[in-house]
């Protein structure tokens, strides 16, 4: 391998899945046309292409890190005024590229069995491939415009996949909700990118960064704020988080890939990529940290009261990304990406495990109707156990080190102790809800209606085993671990243990007292069950208030102005045509008719000669002859 490099082929990392998506788009229906016998071909083709993409990504990442400067860039032509566009491979994009392709491959394989009962799988796998391709473009882009293209692409892929079961009303609505909320945030992001291009004259990261060094504080704050709003939308941060729980209407592998491991991390990536802006904009960074803290706390508390297993995990995702935002806000970009890395493994594993449960229970998602499943589903139980340990940040598991890195960094920020305290409290909630899920689903007595329950096949469990290995080992990235913060490590270890103990005590040992406690704290319980009334607030204020008012105003404007304009134009045309009709009838028609009338009138004497009787003609003939004869004779 010395001297040879396949780095110029890095475009294959997004190119292969894009090829798969194109194949499914153009030939998918031809391959998989019979809804009663779903074809396995789309799954196999698309999984293979993503696996190949991962292979390319892995080799390229390794070779790029061998290069001096650890970065590699291919440049194409000029696109818009965005400077030379191309692909950039550096440690940041390499990490995400490997995560996307790696977890994407595992989830593709898992899906071939999980989705095997569904029809039209070419749409599903085509969408998954399209998503992987767009996400690779997003992270490999070397400028903001190309990043934005990928950004919108993943939004669209997300819409396609959430609404995969478009026959169900909720799935269609959830897809639209995700799309619309993301659009609202993306509008701010477009403004931010346009602002950057306007100021820097290019969208290329390097160009913007070198230009930004000379900008005024106001410009930087403005640009960073716009980008932050975009990142909040994609990463489901409070108050734009409401689309993510609804996105759980999509198939579970989609939730695992898109709504936990990769797409929602795009916002974190964007801020990390724009760190040159955010590190110069302390107010925006502070806002990022505050938003992250609020999100982490709110989402974790809601997850405590959710009964739908996927929604618990969705709120958990929101909460964990909140942690990453805290890290970004305090300037700990490496800690944020470290947590992104570990979170991707344990959260996708949790979703795949949840999918395995749902698959085995014929689509049952309510935790209240699960229980004691560790006996029937030992493999799923083992991997979920590991993933929950990682989520609860038990020492030694992946989530522990990364979350600890974030909490340790908060103290470097001004007033960082606030973030630290709230973060520790959120960690406690995290441990509780993670293990509440485990105790309800896997321990205690069986509450499911289906019996017996069967473990999922190897095609589904093997990807989960692979991920669980990363959940254990993924945290031991020694250069990123700061052992000097050992008191904090001990504290968070104790907190995790307390959380698990509380969940065990409350949900398993004394379930009878739970009802009494729920009654006593019913206002709080109701508040959490209604998700802090945020969704209701949106519905009341935005949908029924602003949007309804705007829509009815627009309808009135439509009626009064546009319709009246159209009707007025019609009235005017009628009046004008009335004049023309008069002219037509009396002038043009009159001319035509009078000319024909004149001919008729003038020809009347001559016409009367034409009797049609032979003998009249003969008589005239003879008379004429006699007249001529008489004339000559008498002359």
């Amino acid at each position: 391998m010395v001297g040879t490099t396949i780095l110029p082929a890095i475009w294959l990392a997004p190119g292969l899945p894009l090829l798969g998506a194109a194949l499914m788009l153009f030939f998918g229906r031809a391959i998989d046309h019979d809804p009663d016998q779903p074809s396995r071909v789309p799954g196999i083709v698309c999984s293979t292409l993503v696996a190949l993409s991962f292979l390319v990504a892995a080799i390229c990442a390794w070779q790029a890190l061998m290069l001096p400067g650890h970065r590699f860039e291919i440049r194409g032509g000029t696109w818009f005024a965005g400077g030379e566009w191309g692909l950039l491979l550096d440690p940041l994009s390499a990490e995400l590229m490997l995560l996307i392709a790696g977890i994407g491959t595992l989830i593709h394989i898992y899906s071939t069995v999980y989705m095997s009962h569904d029809a039209a799988l070419y749409r599903f796998f085509g969408g998954l491939n399209f998503f992987v391709a767009m996400m690779q473009i997003l992270v490999l882009a070397n400028n903001y415009l190309l990043l934005f293209a990928g950004w919108e692409g993943v939004g669209f892929a997300s819409y396609l996949l959430i609404g995969f079961h478009y026959g169900r009303w909720q799935a269609g609505v959830a897809g639209m909700k995700a799309f619309i909320i993301n659009r609202a945030a993306d509008a701010a992001m477009v403004l931010g990118i346009l602002f950057l291009m306007l100021k820097a004259g290019t969208a290329h990261y390097g160009g913007v960064a070198s230009s930004a060094a000379h900008w005024s504080d106001t410009s930087i704050t403005l640009a960073a704020s716009f980008l932050l709003v975009g990142a909040m939308g994609k990463s489901a941060q409070f108050p734009l988080h409401i689309w993510l729980p609804d996105a759980m209407e999509g198939p579970t592998p989609v939730s695992a890939l898109i709504h936990s491991a990769t797409m929602v991390c795009a916002g974190v990536y964007l801020i990390a990529r724009s760190s040159f802006l955010f590190s110069q904009a302390p107010e925006v960074s502070l806002a990022t940290a505050i938003i992250g803290t609020i999100t982490a706390l709110v989402a974790a508390s809601i997850a405590l009261a959710e009964n739908d297993i996927k929604r618990v995990l969705a709120y958990s995702t929101i909460s964990q990304i909140g942690f990453m935002f805290v890290a970004l806000g305090v300037g700990a970009y490496r800690a944020a990406l470290f947590h992104l890395f570990t979170h991707a493994f344990f959260k996708s594993l949790l979703f795949l495990g949840a999918g395995s449960l749902i698959h085995a229970l014929d689509g049952e998602q309510n935790l209240k109707h699960m229980g004691g499943l560790r006996r029937e589903m030992p493999a799923t139980f083992r991997v979920m156990w590991i993933a929950s340990m990682a989520l609860a940040a038990v020492p030694g598991f992946a989530g522990f080190f990364s979350k600890d890195a974030i909490l340790g960094e908060t103290l470097n920020a001004p007033n960082g102790w606030v973030f630290l305290i709230v973060g520790l409290f959120t960690s406690l909630l995290t441990a509780i809800y993670a293990w509440r899920l485990m105790f309800l689903a896997f321990y205690g007595e069986a509450r499911q209606s289906r019996d017996p329950v069967h473990e999922s096949p190897a095609v589904m469990t093997v990807p989960m085993y692979v991920l669980s290995a990363f959940c254990v080992l993924g945290g031991w990235v020694l250069p990123l671990i700061d052992w000097s913060a050992w008191p904090l490590m001990i504290a968070s270890g104790v907190i995790a243990a307390c959380g698990i103990w509380l969940a065990w005590r409350y949900y398993l040992v004394v379930p009878d007292r739970r009802a009494a406690l729920d009654r006593r704290f019913s206002p709080i319980v109701d508040f959490l069950r209604n998700r802090w009334y945020i969704d209701a607030l949106y519905e009341e204020q935005i949908l029924n208030g602003t949007i309804l008012r705007t829509a009815s105003g627009a309808a009135r404007a439509d009626e009064r102005i546009i319709d009246e304009t159209v009707n007025g134009a019609a009235w005017l045309a009628r009046q004008i045509s009335r004049v023309f009709r008069w002219f037509d009838r009396w002038i043009l028609d009159g001319l035509v008719r009078s000319s024909s009338g004149a001919v008729g009138f003038l020809s009347a004497p001559v016409r009367s000669l034409q009797t049609g009787f032979l003998q009249t003609y003969a008589f005239l003939f003879v008379a004429g002859l006699l007249a001529a004869l008489g004339y000559y004779l008498t002359r």
Partner: protein, 103 residues
């Protein structure tokens, strides 16, 4: 006493025949009769030609008579053929009923 027959007698006979023929053409309604009246006109001309031929002692007039007779025979044949076709189509040989030429 018997007067010699002079050319003037022939011309008077010819004129009478011509008038009878012309009046027949103009007044009779049956086409068969009209055709017969046309024959009268032609023969009035023939008498004229023959009379002048004899008076001037030249043969050309009599040759013309024979030519006119041949043409008259042909004319009668064509005319009767037209008449039969007409009768088959219209069921009549009365001239007043055949007024399609009217404007």
């Amino acid at each position: 006493m018997l007067h010699a027959i002079s050319p003037i007698h022939y011309l008077v006979l010819s004129a009478l025949l011509l008038v009878i023929g012309t009046v027949g053409v103009l007044l009779r309604r049956n086409i068969v009769v009209i055709l017969m009246s046309i024959e009268l006109i032609l023969n009035a001309v023939n008498i004229n030609l023959a009379a002048f031929s004899r008076m001037h002692a030249q043969i050309q007039g009599q040759i013309f008579v024979l030519t006119v007779m041949a043409v008259a025979v042909a004319e009668a044949a064509v005319g009767l053929a037209v008449l039969i076709a007409l009768f088959r189509n219209r069921g009549t040989v009365i001239a007043d009923d055949l007024d399609l030429l009217k404007w």
